[in-house]
Amino acid sequence: MNAPESKDTFKVVGTRPIRPDGVEKVTGKAIFGPDYKASNMLFGAIVRSPHPHARVRGIDTKKAEAVAGVHACVTGADFPTLEDTIIRMGESAGSTTDMSQNVMAQGTVFYDGHAVAAVAATSQEAADEAAALIEVDYEVLPHVIDINDAFKQDAPVIHKDQRQTGLGEGEKAGPNVSTKFVMANGEMAKALEGAAATVSEHYSLLPVHQGYIEPHACVATWKADGKIDIWCSSQGAFNIRMLTASFLHLEIGRIRVMPLEIGGGFGGKNSVYIEPVAALLSKKSGRPVRLAMSRSDVFRATGPAPGAEIDVTLGADADGKLVAADVTFKYSAGAFRGTDAMTGVMHAISQYLVPAFSVTGWEVICNMPKHAAYRAPGAPQVNFAVESAMNELADELGLDPLDIRIKNAVAPGMPSMMGTPFGEIGLVECLEAAKVHPHYSAPLGPNQARGVACGTWMNFGGPSTASVSIAEDGSVLVAEGNPDIGGSRASMAMMAAETFGISYDEINVTIADTSSIGFSMMTGGSRTTFATGKAVVEAAQAVIEILCERAAKMLEVDVGDVEWMDGEAVSKSAGKRLTLKEIAVKSGATGGPISFEKGVNPLDHLPGYGVHICDTEVDPETGHVTVTRYTAVQDVGRAIHPAYVEGQLQGGAVQGIGWALNEAYIYNKDGTLDNAGFLDYRMPVASDMPMIDTVMIEKPNPAHPYGVKGVGEVSIVPPLAAVGAAVGNAIGKPMRDLPISPDRVYSAMNGKG
């Protein structure tokens, strides 16, 4: 195996080649979700609820069907009734009936924007006209958006008989509570009593959207033989296949999903929204049907990450060593259950070694779209609260905020919250690198201040498949089942090239459709370079073995005499070598085609850690905050393609800055979303941002052939508290509620906060 101990001996890993799909993407040729067209295709439109909660008494599609060019209408009645089963999708899970109802209301609408009906016509204009003529008779029901209101015992009931998990025996929770999840260890009360310093505060955040620029779009065709082809962009074609099959009650083998290029996902494109609807419209019309969301649809009906209400109590001894941590939070889930409360608990204090802790997470159903995973789902919210409290604790003890973190940081061998010992993690190295970074000691200007925070994400491995085949002329072809959302074709090609000992340019990477390669879990959980990378390396190693066998035949030597070195089969006894090309051109005579498909399911991933330093300047007249300097330090395991790893650190940091300063779902008293567009849902733009400096700490994961840990998600976790601390330090008042909008800063500065 070409995986030497020292990085210096790598030839390809660690370099910065141009990504294989790059030219297509800078010339406008790449085909994304909304770009695909099928022959004889119809255009669909979806009717969405204007109410946050209502019973659907009836749907009349007669007028819509009379519009010239209309070929099919679909409502919730067209969806099969399902048995409720739980489907696990890596870092998230969901019930089939919930998710099917989320795709299209089946009797009740649960949020503003909930799909109730759909129509397909020969033009988009005709489809839109017909959709406006579909008459839905609603009986409006009381709604609840705010987490605290939804949590109450006397809150409006969203789902009768809401399934509730995790409650203690005899414990009664409000009707909208779906989950209680607790992790605890040690004697909390006693530990707090003995603390030299404590901080006990409340923090809050509003839901935010993933904000990918490409709206969801798909084309589906239900063919005469009962088989279905779907073209769409998603984080996992296999996920789309599985969920569409479940909702439509079909065997998986009848559905083939063709992955198109994906224009951002961040967790929000693991879910299925439109594909089953397009499939049903196609079944009824007998023609391919395209469905595409508008930006307003995207905001109203997909995505957001949970809002949160969080209480944190931290206790430390006089040296700043944590003795106790008590965290209780409520996360919103939207209209149906989710899983972020569980991951929130798991990431609440997992960056620190705390002898006594109790972390309780509640998940609360409310009349918003079913929440979706968003980069390190569940972690940033609770991390904002705990890291903000940690900064307040450092202030109380007169300690440097990095020093107090170094004192408490988890390190290899220490027990995790679950009690199992940590592997080769790199939090301490990150904290130490941050401390000596010139940014940390740089002078600050007037109205400027600095904040720091650290954060973690567990990362993931799981099932992936890759195949490697050798063409007749020796070209190397790699196929994988994971959509390339940020340059992963490049990292796959690099790992394959390193393994073969050939150049990067000699590898060709394809994202295969669901009928052309074995199962691969979605691109998410920071798992692709780790798990799919492992599949690529192991498939390449198997092909190398075949190449050696073929070379042995050609050289008429024993296979044990052949070694693979730098892209060639070498026989020491014969004193001969054969190149990959020489072996490939003779493959017809030595045993036929050379290829190998490898399925893996690695679970020896390691968590990642990041430390961020943020400088902000506050305008004393308006309360407006400008980020003036930013540094992200992260343990990346090993950076296969360092430029794309830096990109992950930078992109996550800026999403986190947006979350901290600007972004929020704003519902009005009628329960409808007031800011369903990019003008009013204000994401960071280029002029808001400084350069984002990155420091990559490389502490390889010994379980991966090239040391990969996964890097995509950690970077969104620390910014919330780092920005919060910077603003708080600038105005001398802690900022405990996000977003830190100018009015909040102004009020805090002027004693109204």
Binding site: E125, I213, G647, Q655, M683
Partner: protein
């Protein structure tokens, strides 16, 4: 509904199409003309993914009616490279890894070219403000700004050499 007959120039080619009065230039580019390089991220002029140049002015093609293109000249992402020769901005986007998902990239490249066509030596702040109408959710803008600055430097060098 009767349609409007429009004759226009797209990336130097004379093109004709029929459109309804309500159709946008973006709809026609992506639909009737089959050029899907310009993207629709919002349809309201907030994301810049549909940026094209109309008679020398940078516009969001989702905010221009298709009928307005009559007798005018439209430049899109499909016309930025000359044949298979990438424009230096495109090349620098690749070298700097200035794209992750690539969906906003065409809009950024058209907008950046429009900037460098009129200001060959912009400051970082000028680049950031010129591109403030283009949303990117993946990169945090860092590598995009560096790519544009680097392309500007290379274009200046080419001009000096020429």
């Amino acid at each position: 509904m009767s349609k409007i007959h429009v004759t226009t120039t797209v990336n130097g080619d004379e093109r004709e199409f029929l459109c309804t009065p309500g159709q946008t230039l973006l709809d026609v580019l992506r639909g009737e003309l089959g050029m899907t390089g310009s993207k629709e991220g919002c349809g309201s002029g907030d994301c810049g993914a549909c940026t094209v140049v109309l008679d020398g002015e940078m516009v969001c093609s989702c905010l221009v009616l298709a009928g307005e293109a009559q007798g005018r000249s439209v430049s899109t992402i499909e016309g930025v490279a000359e044949g298979s020769q990438l424009h230096p901005i495109q090349q620098k986007f690749l070298e700097h890894a200035a794209l992750q998902c690539g969906f906003c990239t065409p809009g950024f490249i058209v907008a950046a070219k429009s900037l460098l066509d009129r200001n060959p030596d912009p400051t970082e702040t000028e680049v950031r403000y010129w591109l403030a109408g283009n949303l990117c959710r993946c990169t945090g803008y860092d590598k995009i700004i560096k790519a544009v600055m680097d392309a500007a430097a290379e274009l200046r060098q080419e001009r000096t050499a020429a």
